[in-house]
């Protein structure tokens, strides 16, 4: 398995973040895991990285329901950023709202990045599948 440099988790629920981190760490597939409590903090960070010309995260785990900037708003801004590389974005949600599925379809078709839609809870083997570079 190819080692990933940076994975980014965007979720406001500390328990989910704890679990994700734990699973990723046990898989030993990446060097750095960054977490952000909402979309705003994450997008600001990514913009800084682009400005500094540093390396972007290769895989992003994205929650939908978050304060200030939710997952969809983050995704909207993210796909508009001038990013050449393909980034893998895994949407992780407990939502069963069909409109969320439709939104995912919409964004998936709109961008060259890989966008997946996953329902909670996420198992360890699923995390491994989702952590392959796009």
């Amino acid at each position: 398995m190819t080692k990933i440099n940076t994975i980014c988790i965007i979720d406001d629920d500390p328990i989910t973040v704890f679990g994700m981190r734990k699973m990723l760490q046990s898989l030993l597939i990446c060097n750095t895991i960054n977490t952000f409590g909402n979309g705003k903090l994450a997008i600001d960070n990514i913009k800084t990285i682009i400005a500094e010309g540093a390396a972007l995260p290769e895989v992003i785990f994205l929650d939908i329901n978050m304060p200030i900037m939710d997952g969809w708003q983050f995704l909207q801004e993210f796909i508009e950023l001038p990013i050449q590389d393909k980034v893998r974005i895994n949407i992780i949600t407990s939502s069963i709202d069909s409109t969320d599925q439709k939104k995912w379809q919409h964004y998936k078709d709109k961008t060259h990045h890989t966008v997946t839609y996953n329902n909670k809870p996420i198992r360890k083997n699923e995390i491994a599948q989702m952590s392959i570079v796009a």
């Binding site: 328990i15 069963i96 909670k120």
Partner: protein
């Protein structure tokens, strides 16, 4: 030969005869002539005596010359009428009468020719003939027969038309009694008997519409007229006419029946039907329309236009429609319009207006047909409201289902994940950490359940009664409770709500609502400026509106407008924010049939408007 003396003598006698007379000898030479005769033919004495009578008339018309010649042929007592046209084209009719002229020895010596001007009589005869032709024509066309009764001879004469009407043969000989017996037993027979009696005894002419049974047994309607005749003040007979009006009567009856049918029909239609003239004045109105106009009879509203019943605006627009229909000759069909009567009562009508055209194709009025759809309209509105409420409830329900499932699922996902870890974890420290996480997750779940329960209670607890409460009393109580925080953050409270403003609310809810909004003002104040909270009120339709304005952080409504009142939505980087306050508040306001709106600018402040329903 006559002697000369005698001749002169005789001539003198003849000259004075009152009748136009001429004595012509056998050679047709005029011997004696009366002055009257000379006068009739405009001749002088010397122009006639001794002249041949034929040659005297040689310049007149042939008919006259022939007539005179005929008379001189010596036929006994010949009388004929001939037309005489003189040289001036004057036409006269003469009756010529010739007798033999005897001498004292009884020898025929010539002819005595007497003429009488009968022009007037002939003209009268001609006229009569014409009248007869005319009357026959009339009698044929109008089926009018003539009859004549002579009392002295007890003789009744029917003309052929009268016989045809009675359907008897042309050789039928009627009599007075039989004639009366043709009338139908009952009213017709009684009437004819009475009126003929009256005609005879009181000299009164009659004309009656009666029923007759013909010889062939057909019942027909006739108009029987009669006029008594008198000779020297004594009743001498009667003349009269009889007219067959059966077809006319049947047509009239049919027309009447049709009219009645039509009237019954339009009067019993559940529609307002009326006819208007070019000036939009009613010339017909059915029962429904009469009742709608609150009139007792149709006559009360005939001749009146819409301005007499409706308010100006309704009448004007109705007149406009009438004019368009009558101008374009095209009907307006099923046009829905609200009619406001003078007393302010309203009716929604579905109206059709159809132009009435005369034989030349010009409009002379219009027919209006209106269906009262007020009830339907009302039900439509009720139904629409019901649909609105239902769909909004449905939306709420779906929303709630999503909230529940989402929140419960996220918790259960966490439980399952943490338990998974716990099962495979060896390190005690890590186990403890996971246990703590599980406890936290459990607390979170309880919190969520508590919040959801609160929402369910608000939406299902419809038993809570609304009370009329002074708004300022509630505001004072809530601001007093929060006075610690208000003072701590130096928030200026500016209340311009009049003391008499009351709202109809559930007391528990209004406490929570006010607390929530005022707390929000405190929570989301701007650190950059002195904060204020302005409270004011207004009235919009059947809502009393509370305005809560602050100069706090503000919210980007473009981004968050949709989610502002959602569950677990927070918009500021604020540790206290739970995302439940506005959600519950909104549910409580809607449970009281109110609504909520928001205006906000980031960095400037926010105005919340809370609409309290005054009605229900």
């Amino acid at each position: 030969m006559l002697k000369r003396g005698q001749t002169t003598n005789n001539n003198y006698l003849v000259k004075q005869l009152p009748k136009a007379t001429v004595f012509v000898n056998r050679r047709k030479v005029i011997v004696f002539v009366s002055d009257k005769w000379l006068n009739d033919f405009q001749l002088a004495g010397n122009e006639a005596i001794g002249k041949n009578i034929i040659s005297l008339f040689k310049n007149t018309n042939l008919e006259w010359q022939k007539g005179v010649s005929e008379c001189l042929k010596g036929l006994p007592n010949l009388i004929l009428t001939a037309n005489y046209i003189d040289s001036n084209k004057n036409s006269k009719w003469f009756e010529l009468q010739s007798t033999d002229w005897f001498d004292e020895n009884e020898n025929v010596v010539g002819t005595i020719l007497q003429v009488e001007d009968v022009s007037l009589r002939v003209l009268a005869e001609n006229k009569l003939e014409k009248l007869e032709i005319l009357s026959k024509d009339i009698s044929d066309k109008a089926e009018i027969g003539f009859w004549d009764y002579n009392l002295a001879a007890d003789k009744l004469i029917w003309d052929n038309r009268t016989k045809a009407i009675h359907e008897v043969a042309e050789d039928y000989i009627p009599n007075f009694i039989d004639a009366l017996n043709f009338y139908k037993v009952g009213n017709s027979r009684n009437t004819i008997s009475m009126t003929t009696n009256k005609a005879i005894s009181q000299e009164i002419a009659f004309s009656e519409k009666l029923q007759l049974v013909t010889a062939k047994g057909n019942e027909i309607w006739v108009i029987s007229s009669g006029k008594p005749l008198y000779e020297k003040g004594k009743f001498s007979g009667m003349v009269g006419t009889i007219q067959n009006i059966n077809e006319r009567h049947l047509t009239e009856t049919k027309t009447k029946e049709n009219q009645h049918l039509l009237r019954t029909l339009i009067d019993n239609l559940p529609l307002n039907v009326y006819i208007k003239d070019l000036e939009s004045r009613k010339i017909l109105a059915n029962k429904a329309e009469v009742e709608y106009c609150e009139a007792l009879t149709e006559d009360e509203i005939l001749g009146k236009d819409d301005f007499a019943f409706f308010d100006k605006k309704t009448a004007k627009s109705s007149r406009q429609d009438d004019l368009i229909v009558m101008r374009d000759l095209k009907p307006i069909l099923s046009h829905e319009a609200l009619h406001i009567k003078k007393d302010g009562s309203t009716t929604t009508f579905l109206t059709s207006k159809i132009p009435l055209k005369d034989t030349d194709g010009h409009a002379y009025g219009m027919v209006g047909i209106s269906l009262d759809i007020s009830d339907r309209k009302k039900k439509e509105i009720e139904l629409r409201n019901l649909i609105d409420v239902t769909s909004s409830q449905n939306k709420q329900l779906i929303n709630f289902a999503h909230i529940v499932s989402h929140n419960l699922r996220s918790h259960s996902a966490n439980f399952s994940m943490l338990l998974d870890f716990l099962a495979s974890e060896k390190c005690e420290d890590e186990k403890q950490k996971i246990m703590n996480m599980l406890l936290k997750a459990s607390d979170n779940l309880l919190d969520t359940l508590h919040h959801l329960n609160e929402v369910v209670e608000i939406n299902t607890n419809t038993n809570l009664k609304k009370k009329s409460i002074k708004l300022n009393t509630k505001i004072a109580a809530v601001t007093k409770n929060l006075s610690g925080e208000i003072n701590e953050h130096n928030i200026e409270v500016i209340n311009s709500i009049p003391n008499n403003v009351k709202i109809r609310v559930i007391p528990d809810y209004i406490d929570n609502i006010l607390t929530n909004f005022i707390t929000n003002v405190i929570k989301y104040r701007s650190p950059d400026r002195a904060s204020f909270m302005k409270l004011s009120s207004s009235q919009e339709e059947h809502y009393t509106v509370l305005h809560i304005e602050d100069n706090g952080l503000g919210i980007d409504l473009q981004k968050y407008g949709e989610k502002l009142f959602g569950m677990y939505k927070t918009f500021h980087d604020n540790q206290d924010a739970q995302g439940i306050g506005l959600f519950i508040t909104k549910n409580q306001i809607e449970a009281m049939n109110g609504k909520i709106s928001v205006e906000s600018k980031v960095g400037k402040g926010t105005i919340f408007k809370i609409y309290f329903n005054d009605k229900n």
